[in-house]
């Protein structure tokens, strides 16, 4: 209860300190900013150790050794070495070694991502776009896709018919930007609502309720 109360006040204080930047830059804002950066950096270290290094490497190694699975235990030396090689970026003369684990990571990421993008994005989306031209939606979709693609066709000057179509493509792109921006405004206002709701209900009214004993 007491810790909850203290936590709410600390959170409210830091929220107000950050929001005070809207008035003008001030020491309170900078203090909150530094606390945030410091805590984030500290948390990142604990995060990597607690969720990655210890459970995936140290604990697994100990478990396999205890179960006498020596092959599965010692194979973990490979990712450990790759991880250490990545840290060599800090030593300028040996920084080139970090390219090996980097290429390993990029290779795995590209391999996983390529199949997923083709199988899970490109083909289903193309298949859905190529619907029979029987509805107004399908027609709008065709016009939008073709005109937008032609807008990004830069091998020919956008004049004549190509110019007209690419201008239609611009309209579709602008509508997409508008919809995107509208949703972004909604998202940002939601965050403001979340913070102000916290300040009003959890902090102010919560404190009043606590003092009033209700």
């Amino acid at each position: 209860m007491v810790m909850n109360f203290i936590g709410t006040w600390v959170a409210a204080g830091l929220t107000i300190a950050i929001l005070s930047f809207l008035y003008k830059d001030n020491p309170l804002y900078r203090l909150a900013e530094h606390i945030y950066v410091g805590i984030s950096a500290g948390y990142a270290v604990i995060y990597v150790w607690s969720f990655d290094v210890y459970p995936m490497l140290v604990k697994k190694f100990q478990e396999h050794m205890a179960a006498r699975n020596h092959a599965e235990a010692w194979i973990l030396v490979v990712p450990a070495l790759l991880g250490l090689m990545m840290l060599l970026r800090w030593i300028p003369k040996l920084a080139w070694i970090s390219r090996w684990p980097m290429s390993f990571t990029i290779g795995i990421g590209a391999g996983l991502g390529l199949i997923a993008t083709v199988q899970g994005y490109l083909l289903p989306q193309v298949s859905d776009t190529l619907a029979p031209l029987l509805t107004a939606n399908a027609i709008v979709m065709y016009v939008g896709v073709i005109s937008t693609l032609l807008y990004f066709y830069f091998s020919k000057e956008h004049t004549g018919a190509l110019g007209v179509v690419s201008r239609v493509g611009t309209i579709f792109i602008m509508v997409a930007f508008g919809a995107n921006f509208g949703y972004t405004v909604m998202a940002r206002v939601s965050l403001l609502i979340g913070r102000l709701d916290f300040l009003v209900n959890d902090w102010l009214l919560g404190t009043i309720r606590l003092i009033a004993g209700r």
């Binding site: 997923a116 949703y183 972004t184 909604m186 206002v189 965050l191």
Partner: protein, 275 residues
């Protein structure tokens, strides 16, 4: 003319204060359930509602506190819905920072429905690896999640003994504030034909709608509005419903300011051109 120039040149700090008031005042009103429920949200609701009791739903917490105002109400409403339908819930996360938010929502929804840990829901936590973890669950969940967040073997929970891969999971729900929802759709939905429901922030909605339109996801909850609609379907108006009034007032204010600002700008430009 002077009026428009004065209005369009007003100090931005006054606008911030007006916006803050526009958001705060509606928070004191009683929340009213959303009258209109959009098709993507209704589809998401039906994807859960039509499951047989005892079916397993995975809810992946793919967000952190920075997106909690939009996604946490979804989490709570989904848990209430799952528990009211006697579904078994597995909580996981692709962002470790989201796990405490899952615990907070479970701390509210589980006691409301008399649900207990291990019998009705389990929190298997976070494992690094992203897409590789998702693909790994397709082979065997225990390959990555042999224990829960408390280090208890998952096989010590009765309902978990029959959960091995996506064939044993009825629906995966990804509540995401970034690209993680794309991974669920592309790695799991496409490869394993697993029904996916996505709840996302307003910023990501436009990148999620193509999946919904193409039938790649079973339903979509879009930002705070989606959360409010889901709350009304579940019959428990809560934070998102309450926030939507503030959202509407803020939007009306922003539109009014846009109009006033542009009219002022156009009039002052015309006056300068004449001079």
């Amino acid at each position: 003319m002077k009026f428009w120039e004065r209005v369009s040149g007003v100090d931005r700090r006054i606008l911030y204060a007006v916006l803050a008031l526009a958001v705060v005042l509606p928070l004191f009103f009683r929340p009213r359930p959303s009258a209109r429920v959009s098709a993507p949200v209704r589809d998401a609701y039906n994807a859960i509602d039509t499951l047989a009791p005892g079916s397993v739903v995975v809810i992946s917490i793919d967000y952190d506190p920075s997106s909690a105002p939009e996604l946490q109400p979804m989490m709570l409403a989904l848990l209430r819905h799952c528990f009211s339908r006697n579904l078994k819930v597995i909580i996981t996360a692709q962002l470790a920072l989201g796990l405490p938010l899952g615990d907070a929502a479970l701390g509210i929804a589980a006691p409301e429905h008399g649900k207990s840990y291990g019998t009705d829901y389990v929190n298997i936590g976070y494992r690094p690896g992203g897409g590789a973890v998702m693909l790994g669950i397709g082979r065997e969940l225990r390959g990555y999640f042999s224990t829960d967040t408390r280090d208890v073997p998952v096989d010590s929970f009765e309902f978990m003994r029959r959960v091995h891969n996506y064939r044993d999971i009825a629906v995966v729900v990804s509540l995401a504030h970034g690209a993680v929802a794309d991974w669920w759709v592309q790695y799991v939905g496409a490869r394993f034909n697993e029904p996916i429901v996505v709840g996302c922030t307003g910023v990501n909605v436009s990148s999620m709608f193509p999946y919904y339109k193409a039938g790649q996801i079973a339903g979509l909850l879009a930002g705070m509005q989606g959360a409010a609609e889901y709350e009304s379907l579940v019959g428990r108006p809560d934070k998102a419903t309450k926030g939507m009034l503030a959202q509407s007032v803020a939007h009306a204010l922003i539109i009014a300011l846009l109009v006033v600002g542009n009219v002022g700008f156009l009039l002052s430009r015309r006056r300068k051109a004449k001079a």
